[in-house]
């Protein structure tokens, strides 16, 4: 089922979705785009490349409240914070980011230990994937093509969208998506030409080139293991690194968090907050010992987690090549170049 509407009618679509639940979509902010809960239908803006913060925050928000309590009172009076989710529509997610949800599922539910917050948010959400605009050149930082992700892969989305000038085409991918789409009566059927355009567009998605290099996960994992103790290599790689939290916070596949008690006067909340392996105190132990005191040890952890340990443990690279870490790194540290350099001899083959 391929339906369509026009870009100028987006507010109408937004209004229909907001009537059914919560709409989370890209909006333009001072520094760029971000996914936000929509309060005004005119905010939704699909003329964007990608957002600063990845859409992981729809399922794994930077702050998630768990328990509320009063200091000095009995623990029996503490109350868990209930998640009362309305159906949520995550609108306009790029294919590489959709792919990241599957990688994150491994950690939040796939290992058997289910994170109820992630799980509930995942279940409540319908994903509207959105193909990249292939008429525009790929951002210099991106490399999702290297990781086998096309610019227009509908896999993982419930509904997939392609924009052709001012026409927005929407195709049902899953039964969940179908149920929703049948209720959106103002969408009109696409013409035969448009159906062809849509199908061709998706097929072309893998010809569209971001930075590309050949990847053999086994070779990568092996090479990173071989250079783990090569302090010179890692020192050079991290000479510029500030050890800040930008790369991990914008990344769709970083999932580290901290649980803290935060109180204001006597009102306390136990909440989960994003943490980052690049922070100095991330590995600080209660004894005062810190196994990672050097910047290179932290950057090595970040890179090897994604490109080595993750392969060994779960068989897949924990990176989707969205390029955010590179794009927003204040000193332009580029994970693609690091991987390329680390395993150059074995698998580097530029097409």
């Amino acid at each position: 089922m391929l339906k369509k509407t026009t870009i100028d009618k987006l507010p109408e679509l937004a209004a229909a979705l907001m009537e059914k639940g919560t709409l989370v979509a890209p909006i333009k902010e001072d520094a760029g785009f971000n996914f936000r809960e929509i309060t005004d239908t005119k905010q939704v803006d699909l003329i964007f490349h990608n957002t600063i913060i990845s859409p992981k925050s729809a399922f794994f928000p930077q702050v998630e409240d768990f328990v509320q309590y009063q200091t000095g009172k009995s623990i029996l009076e503490a109350a868990p914070v209930e998640l009362n989710l309305k159906p949520t529509f995550l609108f306009g997610v790029r294919p590489c980011d959709v792919k990241s949800f599957q990688i994150m599922d491994i950690h939040f539910s796939g290992t058997g230990v289910v994170d109820p917050y992630w799980q509930k948010r995942r279940e409540a959400t319908i994903i509207f994937g959105f193909a990249f605009d292939m008429n525009e050149v790929a951002d210099a930082a991106e490399f999702y093509h290297t990781l086998g992700i096309g610019a227009a892969d509908p896999e993982g989305s419930d509904i997939f969208m392609v924009r052709k000038d001012d026409i927005l085409m929407l195709k049902v991918i899953t039964p969940k998506g179908e149920k929703l789409m049948t209720g959106l009566s103002f969408l009109i059927d696409a013409s035969a030409d448009e159906i062809k355009y849509f199908d061709d567009y998706i097929a072309k998605g893998h010809d569209y080139k971001t930075r590309y290099t050949c990847v053999d996960t086994e070779a990568i994992a092996r090479e990173f293991e071989a250079i783990f103790d090569n302090a010179d290599f890692w020192t050079k790689i991290s000479d510029a690194c500030l050890s800040c939290g930008v790369c991990t916070f914008v990344c769709p596949t970083c999932y580290c968090f901290d649980i803290c008690d935060e109180t204001l006067f006597s009102q306390g909340t136990r909440r989960r907050v994003w943490d980052a392996c690049m922070f100095t105190d991330f590995t600080l132990e209660a004894s005062g010992h810190n196994p990672r005191t050097k910047v290179y040890q932290r950057l090595r952890q970040k890179v090897c987690h994604k490109y080595s340990y993750h392969i060994r443990k779960y068989g897949v690279i924990s990176c989707v090549g969205c390029g955010r870490c590179t794009r927003y790194c204040p000193v332009n540290i580029d994970i693609f170049s690091i991987v390329e350099e680390a395993v150059k001899a074995k698998w580097y083959k530029r097409l």
Binding site: A140, D239, L242, C244, V273, T280, V331
Partner: protein, 288 residues
């Protein structure tokens, strides 16, 4: 006059090579190739052969003074410094974090530097109205003279015209965008505390979550820890992934400090940091 970035790059390479070959320094902090032309990186040359990787272009904004404290005391370091960066070195010398005799300053007189994200020329905003390094051992080009300057506090006009409520609302809106990635403090040459107050949990000074109270605590404290120390390089604001104009607050505090104590940060190695130096004739304005 126009700046030849290529020429500066050549001189930077020549001097770096000479210093490393002679063994005068073991490390040269400069700029190197990034993943494309627009995105050069801070670069550390340790061997004469590393020098080939050095670049200099209008996007080399990094304040290399930021990396000085990373090396063990006594390491002989050559560091490339533009005007503001040289002030950071001076301030670090005043604060006894580095020693003058351990450093070779490769001064870069330059204007027309650009922010790669916005393509905006950053001169007026963040070089404190200076194009020539304040302190250097070797100058890698002719001093800049006659180039129009925007004074460091000119950009404050709109900000200073806001009254208290409007200003608070302004910062509230800006801080609401903050994701607490700490790129601002990590990019700052003067933020060298380890641990930073905001990372301490005994006592805990501020919340970790990016909500109003914690953000306010983090930023206001950091702004004030930079009082009389911020040398106006603008790195904090450029590092910020959500473009919070931190420089406005820093400049405002810098201006007040300058008016009260008659000295700007990092202008002379003979100065003492304004806030640790007691003089009988100090302004009492701070107590009013």
């Amino acid at each position: 006059m126009t700046i030849s970035f290529k020429q500066i790059e050549e001189k930077l390479k020549t001097e770096a090579k000479r210093l490393l070959e002679s063994g005068q320094v073991s490390v040269v902090l400069a700029y190197g190739k990034g993943y494309d032309e627009k995105h050069p990186m801070p670069y550390v040359a340790r061997n004469p052969s590393d020098v080939a990787n050095i670049v200099f272009n209008e996007y080399c904004n990094y304040n290399m003074a930021r990396y000085l404290v990373r090396y063990p005391a006594g390491t002989k370091i050559a560091v490339a410094v533009k005007a503001a960066d040289s002030r950071a070195v001076i301030q670090l010398i005043q604060e006894e974090k580095v020693k003058r005799e351990d450093l070779v300053l490769l001064g870069i007189p330059v204007y027309g530097m650009k922010n790669p994200k916005t393509q905006e020329i950053i001169d007026g905003k963040t070089t404190g109205g200076l194009y020539n390094p304040v302190l250097y051992d070797i100058l890698l080009g002719d001093e800049v003279h006659g180039q129009a300057i925007q004074l460091p506090y000119d950009v404050l006009a709109a900000y200073e015209s806001m009254d208290k409520e409007v200003r608070f609302a302004f910062w509230k809106k800006e801080f609401d965008k903050c994701i607490r990635c700490y790129a601002c403090r990590k990019a700052c040459p003067m933020c060298y505390c380890d641990p930073c107050f905001i990372d301490q949990n005994k006592p805990k000074w501020g919340d970790k979550s990016p909500k109003f109270h914690g953000n306010l605590m983090y930023h206001l404290t950091r702004f004030h820890h930079l009082a009389g120390r911020c040398i106006d390089c603008g790195e904090c604001s450029r590092a910020c992934p959500v473009d919070i104009p931190l420089y406005l607050f820093h400049k405002k505090v810098a201006r007040e400090c300058e008016e009260m104590f008659g000295q700007a940060a990092g202008m002379s190695i003979e100065d003492k940091p304004a806030l640790v130096n007691f003089r009988v004739d100090d302004s009492d304005k701070i107590l009013e």
